[in-house]
């Protein structure tokens, strides 16, 4: 897994690539906790380059949502597609998270 961040219009765009699984989810959570405690509370999580997600990755997203909720923050997912989308569908996560087809559409949620 690789994480890349950039700030656009005061929103942190977090690009996740590779795998979000049992092995990488703890690292994802650690990074998220650091970013949120550092004051970032608006996130677009871009899954354009995410190849694989398991329930461990979904739990990482739930932790992120919970931490943001505590700080009155928000998150929006972008480019959830293919096999990753199937896992979201199986677990009913498409109704749990705000999801958009592109980063620009996701950024518009925060305007």
């Amino acid at each position: 897994m690789n994480l890349q961040t950039r700030i656009e219009n005061n929103v942190t765009v977090l690009t996740v690539s590779g795998r979000l699984d049992t092995v990488t989810a703890p690292e994802y959570e650690k990074n998220i906790r650091e970013m949120i405690s550092g004051g970032n509370i608006k996130f677009v999580v871009d899954f354009e380059q995410l190849e694989y997600i398991s329930s461990a990755g979904l739990r990482g997203l739930l932790v992120m949502a919970k931490l943001l909720n505590e700080k009155s923050g928000r998150m929006c997912l972008a480019n959830v597609k293919g096999n990753v989308r199937s896992v979201f569908d199986m677990c009913g996560f498409t109704s749990v998270f705000t999801m958009k087809d592109s980063v620009s559409e996701a950024l518009a949620v925060f305007v």
């Binding site: 049992t22 092995v23 694989y52 398991s54 329930s55 461990a56 739990r59 896992v87 199986m90 677990c91």
Partner: protein, 367 residues
């Protein structure tokens, strides 16, 4: 006609036949099937003493042929063998190949032997090749000559040792149709073969050999439609499997994934199926996580080329308990994914192990 009791055969330290017990009755057609190296050909070779058994007894019409007083030459005349590689005499014509043994061993006149040989060559559809030499014939034709040569000795039983294994697929049919014809005429036959459809059609009884034993035997319907043992089932369904053993909680998920992907690639499984299989395995490993290190977990992927069925079998040591019922996960996400990826889930306490069997959804038509 033939009764085999506790037959064994060793080559040095290598035990090829452990304890073979069976009977072949007059007029019966028995097919012997099983993976390579399980002793099928050795069993045939022991029957006509081309390989001498290490132990046990073989009775032919009540006479134990392993008895030192037994007349081996006479016994051999009762049975004849068709080999995988034809074994024709290359320096003799087809006619000479068929007449040499009846003339020399049975004292038949040259004239009578030729008449009989022509009759047999007509039976296998090769009368016009009587004066040709083996090298002038195709593999299928050579094997048909070998069958005719075998019949020339008027054996009471014919042993076929993989008669089509050395042939091009186009020639297999012509040889099998000759054997089918002999079957209709009521000749007793024992046939070692990898041609499953043929074994199913032609036999009265099928022996499945594995581990140097007759692992399972029955009618073709019993063996091909409803095999009782896992190994027979796997063989009949042409199931290929891959097992990964997990002994510690620090297992290498990515090394395991790489091997699973290689297995899937070899079976040409679609990418989506590979993804789902890896996901299913990861979710299961999370369920097993609290117990890893305290037990041995074997995860086996089994894919049937015939039915395209993909199964994942998890066998774990420890006390009898379904890991799916007793998992310590804080949510149902993993279990939801597992249910979505599988057609069926079956738990059994089997041979002192907890066995969970998942039929993975078949996605082979999606890509």
């Amino acid at each position: 006609m033939i009764r085999i009791e506790h037959l064994s055969k060793k080559f040095g330290d290598l035990v090829v036949l452990k304890d073979i017990n069976t009977e072949i009755k007059r007029g019966e057609i028995v097919s012997i099937i099983g993976p390579s190296g399980t002793g099928k050909s050795t069993l045939l070779r022991c029957l006509n003493l081309l390989d001498y058994p290490s132990g046990g007894s073989i009775y032919i019409d009540g006479v134990n042929i392993l008895d030192k007083k037994a007349d081996v030459a006479k016994i051999r005349q009762k049975m004849n063998m068709v080999f995988q590689s034809f074994n024709l005499f290359s320096h003799l014509s087809v006619m000479e190949n068929l007449t040499i043994a009846p003339i020399r061993l049975r004292g038949m006149s040259k004239e009578a032997a030729r008449t009989k040989a022509l009759e047999l060559l007509r039976l296998v559809g090769l009368a016009e090749k009587a004066e040709n030499y083996p090298e002038e014939l195709s593999g299928g034709q050579q094997q048909r000559v070998a069958i005719a040569r075998c019949l020339a000795m008027e054996p009471e039983i014919i042993l076929f040792d993989e008669p089509t294994s050395a042939l091009d697929p186009t020639m297999v049919r012509e040889v099998l149709s000759v054997i089918r014809r002999l079957a209709r005429e009521g000749i007793t036959m024992a046939i070692v073969t990898h041609e499953m459809d043929f074994a199913r059609d032609v036999s009265n009884r099928v022996l499945y050999m594995d581990e140097g034993l007759i692992f399972e035997e029955g009618t073709p319907d019993e063996i091909f439609e409803n095999p009782q043992k896992d190994k027979t089932r796997a063989f009949i369904n042409r199931t290929l499997s891959f097992t990964w053993r997990i002994l510690s909680p620090d297992y290498d998920l990515y090394a395991m994934n790489a091997e699973i992907e290689a297995f899937c690639e070899k079976q040409i499984l679609p990418k989506k199926t590979r993804y789902n299989l890896l996901l299913l395995i990861e979710e299961l490993l999370q369920i097993y996580a609290p117990y890893l290190g305290k037990m041995i977990l074997d995860m086996t992927i089994a894919y049937s080329e015939k039915s395209r069925r993909l199964d994942l079998i998890c066998e774990s040591t420890g006390e009898k308990a379904n890991p799916l019922d007793s998992h310590g996960l804080t949510d149902d996400l993993g279990f939801t994914i597992i249910k979505n990826l599988t057609e069926s889930i079956d738990y059994q306490w089997h041979n002192g192990k907890n066995r969970l069997e998942f039929q993975v959804k078949n996605l082979s038509h999606e890509e």
